[in-house]
Amino acid sequence: MISYAFDYARPTTVEDALAQLDDDAKLLAGGHSLIPALKLRLSAPAKLVDIARIPALKGIRQDGNELVIGAATTHKEILSSDLIKEHLPMFAEGAALIGDPMIRYKGTIGGSIAHADPSADWPAMVIAAEGTVVVQSKSGTRSIAADDFFTGFYMTALEEGEIITEIRFPVPAEGTRMTYQKFTQPASRFAIVGCAAVRKPDGSARVAFTGVSDAAFRDTGVEEAVGDWSTAAIEAAAAKTAEGMELNVDHFASEAYRHHLARVYCKRALVAISE
């Protein structure tokens, strides 16, 4: 468990980071996913570009009708933020469930979504909260809707040479309710299943899952079935969880057991925000 040799750079601006980010480089944020992978020699970048100390990538602010979270903002900073507690309470609740204290001190939201571990917590929450991932490259910036961002097993819509700079969320309308519910893999503390659910004042829902399939996904089948949020409707919606999808199987949960858990956690999430 020792990595291949690599170079290290710690730029202080996004532009510097982009200049350093050549073909064989990888971005390093909190390091809790990347460094173990390097030690197992699953990944062999020639250079690590450490973006943990770029001020422009850090912090949480309101920008008009949007909340903006810098990519290098840590889980701990998010769960402690008053702005988050006020507008996106699901993020404070969910961030507190990530790993253990040391992971929360180091790990970042941008690192988590870029890594796109199929069991990571942020992807489901970012999808449910209608996030927009803002990325920058030498040729400029572009925005990717969270719905389109997670494309497969550890795969995202990011392209070579791009850095996630921030994730933007619409400020939820007054009366919006949201929750993140998670069944934890007890050794790694990743989600065996995680369900993020939002109920808007008009009664419409956004529901996303992680841990269930090869990538986090929005479940429109559940969203459509939730209807009037009656007990029967919630029951019916939860039953639709991950309908027709291929589910993950590992030694902590079989396909059937994972599906059972996903339905239970979907129902829990829907009930939690139903009133």
Binding site: M1, I2, S3, Y4, A5, F6, D7, Y8, R10, L28, G31, H32, I35, P36, K39, L40, K47, L48, D50, A52, G99, D100, P101, M102, I103, Y105, K106, F183, P186, A187, S188, R189, E235, A238, H251, F252, A253, S254, A256, Y257, H260, L261, V264, K267, R268, V271
Partner: protein, 904 residues
């Protein structure tokens, strides 16, 4: 670049790929920070960076630029933090390897909690959340809870003197205890091992030329010890490299090219028994490793199956037993329970991995090694390398967990010695976590066909048990003896079969196959009691031939939780609670040749023996035995262990430590005292000297112990334990290497567990365990209790979580990291009540018997029986992971399906 470490500025120029833990442990030799999982899961490497706890193993060295780092060394013996004092006072540690990481995190928690809540005591859940990033394999969590709660509440803010029941606690809480993994010898090379990539392959050729030619590579040696040149499991050592750095050694391994002729393999017990299965040992001459501590009895091979020959010791009226079982179905006065049970491979997961530093010099071999068998290892090395015993020194001052996996001449030691023999330089070999999990050792997997018959009045009639053990490429899982020697006097046909598979070899793990045996026996016993409509405690009392357990049955029956227990499956609602009981039986083993030296020096008492302390407390037992004779504090006794130059002490296997060393320590201390008194009269001219209250009283006054040692000439006494006379059974274990004697009377336990089963999600929560132990005199109650806590926690891991899993397509182990192999964390543990019934072993010298293994045996079956009592569903397979519980419940209880649709 510049950083600040423990308050001092440090300028250095790290490699780009260097990590913070290398800076601390290697550049700065701050070895209190431990490397365990290397993946940010276990927390052993936690340090404070600008006041925030971080895992040093995942932090690039460069990220420390301009930061301030605080390690455990910032809190030395003279600047103890209240948290460290609390860890000492509440015995919140055993082997001590995880301790610095826990303490650093707890200090950060102490600070943040105080800021927010002052001295209000945090509850257990709050402590569990704060320490959720840390793992302790010894299971010291009970003490850790108490220590953190009471430290935060202010108990230790003003305390200056701390008396710990564990004499080496100060060295462990300050990170000063030096483990083999911390040993650094100038000029030391790093050794790494190349493992087989295939589960079964003939090694046609190994080309080391490219590795040898690399700059910085000092030696490459062959490691495959198979006369047919066949690798039989993934990770089997093929070659080893010594180089001037770990990076070069790792690169050199990749430059070795191995030509494999891949052979078919079997990766599981069931596959191995199928007709036409690939053979692990197709050759006519088979020489499998031994997974047990005893000799391999003769057996006959049929494919991958190795059958025993008739063993008269192990069977009583076997034909009659088989006949009763066969006919029980037709006899309406008989009740038969007949099932197949399964238990998993349980990985030892010692936090200190297997490691050794060997230095072969002209005429001598010195080996630092993390081992349970200091003295026999020195003999074994001398024999293997044709040296005189005097030329070999084995050193093992502190051992960071072993649990059975670190016995004798192990692979990492062989690699280190072979590489040092070639290079003549000191060579250090430390398993990384993947190696530790793959080839470091595990408890065998078992599948057992078991039948038990009683008549309707509850009289036990017969048992048959056929135990199939999967020790990987090894043999000797040995479940049958425990069934043979429990509930005796009835016809029994019990036999062990070995099934070899292409997996790394199993090793003894705390009560080797006893936990599997008692899982089977005690689950079946409980089911039979239920079928007979009898109290399972009363029925055990009726069957039990051991008087030693009778007071423990009384104790269980006196507990309100037992008296209030409901009928099986009567618990209503989604969360069902239940109570279960099980017993354990353990051989009472000791080493009659064990010796200890007690000496005085002008500075005080010194005790030496070539034994070792893996965290189970041998050091403290010896210190206490001697200190009590002199009426002084055990902390003033300098106990020196872990050096094969000393007189030979016991190995740390078979729960024999206390039984072997306690009595000779007392005797030697007594004799030293007599000599001192004689000298006091002859050299100091004291009249009527006698020893009392920590010193010599004489006609004219009192000379305290410290003065006695300073003024009188040094004396030394070596004392041997010796046998128990007629009460010994000799020769049940090879006396040469792991010498042992056995007292026929076994030690006994009765355990009770209370569980809550979530019938919607399948989770089993153990709420409380009552541990009743009868193992004679308890020498050091606090440490004995800590041992039992640890066994309950490891036993709960075995019952509920832990399971080795390999990839059927390749035979590669999947549970190679601590993020995949789940050991209990602090938030999992139940309340634990320990009850010792002392006495009953007057025939044993010192009257004190071992307890480490005894305390493990009954945990899993007590939990399984409680799950049955809660739900009415009988588990036969462990671990009882949630999906298994749900599947079991759905089959047993149709109403569970219904419950799922209405609850959430």
């Amino acid at each position: 670049m510049k950083t600040t470490i423990n308050g001092q500025e440090y300028k250095f120029d790290p490699r780009a790929d260097e990590s913070a833990i290398e800076v601390l442990r290697e550049r700065k030799q701050l070895t209190g920070t431990k490397l365990v999982c290397g993946a940010g899961v276990c927390g052993a490497c936690t340090v404070l960076v600008d006041g925030t706890p971080m895992t040093a193993c995942l932090l690039p060295a460069h990220a420390l630029e301009g930061k301030s780092v605080q390690t455990i060394e910032a809190h030395g013996p003279d600047q103890l933090h209240p948290v460290q004092k609390a860890f000492m006072a509440h015995d919140a540690l055993q082997c001590g390897f995880c301790t610095p990481g826990f303490i650093i995190e707890a200090i950060a928690f102490y600070d943040s909690w105080r800021k927010e809540h002052g001295k209000k005591e945090p509850d257990r859940d709050e402590v569990a959340l704060a320490l959720s990033g840390h793992l302790c394999r010894c299971g010291a969590y009970v003490g850790i809870y108490k220590a953190v709660q009471r430290a935060v509440a202010g108990d230790f803010d003003e305390v200056s003197e701390i008396e710990s029941p564990r004499v080496e606690a100060l060295a462990k809480v300050t990170g000063q205890a030096r483990y083999t993994a911390d040993v650094h010898v100038p000029g030391m090379l790093t050794g790494r091992i190349l493992g087989s990539k295939h589960a079964h392959a003939r090694i046609v050729r190994i080309d080391i030329s490219a590795a040898v030619a690399m700059e910085g590579v000092k030696a490459v040696v062959e490691m495959l010890e198979d006369k047919y040149k066949v690798a039989r499991y993934v990770g089997q050592p093929l070659a080893a490299v010594a180089a001037i750095s770990e990076e070069i050694a790792a690169e050199a391994l990749e430059k070795i090219t191995v030509e494999y002729e891949v052979l078919p393999f079997v990766d599981s017990l069931d596959e191995a028994l199928k007709p036409g299965a690939a053979l692990v040992y197709p050759e006519s001459s088979k020489n499998p490793p031994n997974a047990s501590e005893g000799p391999i009895p003769p057996g006959k091979w049929e494919g991958n199956l190795r059958k025993p020959y008739l063993n008269l010791m192990m069977t009583t009226w076997p034909g009659k037993a088989r006949r009763i079982v066969k006919e029980a179905g037709q006899d309406e006065n008989l009740v038969l329970v007949q099932r197949t049970y399964r238990t998993p491979g349980q990985t030892h997961t010692s936090l200190e991995p297997h490691c050794a530093v060997a230095h072969w010099q002209e005429g001598s071999l010195t080996v630092h090694v993390s081992t349970q068998t200091v003295a026999p290892l020195a003999r074994e090395l001398a024999k293997y390398y044709k040296l005189n015993r005097e030329q070999v020194t084995v050193l093992s001052e502190y051992v960071g967990g072993a649990f059975g996996s670190k016995q004798g001449f192990t692979t990492e030691t062989r690699a280190a010695v072979e590489l040092s023999r070639v290079t003549k330089a000191p060579v250090k070999v430390v398993y990384d976590r993947m190696e530790e999990m793959t080839i470091g050792g595990y408890r065998p997997l078992t599948k057992s066909d078991f039948s038990i018959v009683a008549d309707k009045q509850g009289n036990l009639k017969a048992m048959t048990g056929y135990f199939y053990g999967d020790c990987g490429v090894a043999v000797q899982s040995q479940c049958a003896p425990w069934v043979r020697f429990t509930y005796t006097g009835v016809p029994k046909d019990v036999k062990d079969f070995d099934v070899v598979t292409n997996a790394a070899f199993a090793k003894p793990f705390r009560a080797p196959s006893g936990p599997a045996s008692f899982w089977v026996l005690e689950s079946a016993m409980d089911e039979l009691a239920h079928r007979l409509g009898k109290s399972p405690v009363a029925l055990r009392r009726h069957w039990d031939d051991s008087t030693i357990r009778m007071p423990l049955y009384d104790w269980i029956e006196s507990l309100p939780a037992w008296q209030k227990r409901g009928e099986a499956g009567a618990s209503a609602g989604r969360f069902k609670t239940g109570i279960g009981v099980a017993i354990g039986n353990w051989f009472n083993i000791y080493f009659s040749q064990a010796k200890v030296e007690v000496a005085t020096t002008p500075g005080g008492l010194v005790v030496r023996t070539a034994a070792q302390d893996m965290g189970n407390g041998l050091r403290s037992v010896v210190a206490k035995a001697v200190a009590e004779e002199f009426g002084v504090s055990p902390l003033t006794v300098d106990v020196q262990l872990g050096n094969s130059e000393y007189v030979e002490g016991p190995v740390s296997t078979g729960s024999r430590g206390t039984n072997s060393i306690y009595q000779p320590s007392v005797e030697a201390a007594r004799k030293v005292k007599e000599k001192l008194l004689a000298n006091a009269a002859s050299t100091l001219g004291l009249k009527d000297p006698h020893w009392e209250n920590g010193g010599i009283f004489h006609e004219k006054g009192f000379l305290p112990a410290a003065e006695v040692f300073r003024q009188l000439p040094a004396v030394s006494v070596v004392e041997k334990r010796g046998g128990n006379g007629l009460f010994d059974v000799l020769g049940m274990m090879p006396s040469g290497e792991l010498g042992a004697n056995i007292v026929p009377k076994m030690t006994g336990s009765v355990f009770m567990a209370q569980v809550e089963v979530d019938t919607l999600l399948g989770r089993v929560k153990v709420q409380k365990v009552w541990a009743g132990m009868a193992n004679g005199k308890i020498v050091n109650p606090e440490l004995a209790q800590s041992q039992v806590y640890g066994a309950v926690i490891q036993g709960m891991g075995y019952a509920l979580y832990e399971e080795r899993i390999s990839d059927p397509a390749t035979g590669t182990l999947l549970t190679v990291g601590m993020e995949d192999y789940r050991i209990p964390g602090i938030g999992d543990i139940p309340e634990i009540e320990v009850h010792f019934h002392e006495g009953g072993f007057e025939s044993v010298k010192g009257e004190a018997c071992g307890l480490s293994e005894l305390s493990f045996l009954a945990v899993a079956p007590a939990i399984g029986n409680a799950v049955f009592n809660a739900t009415g569903w009988r588990p036969t397979e462990i671990p009882m992971r949630p999906h298994r519980v749900l599947e079991g419940l759905s089959m047993a209880l149709p109403q569970v399906q219904e419950a799922k649709s209405v609850e959430y």
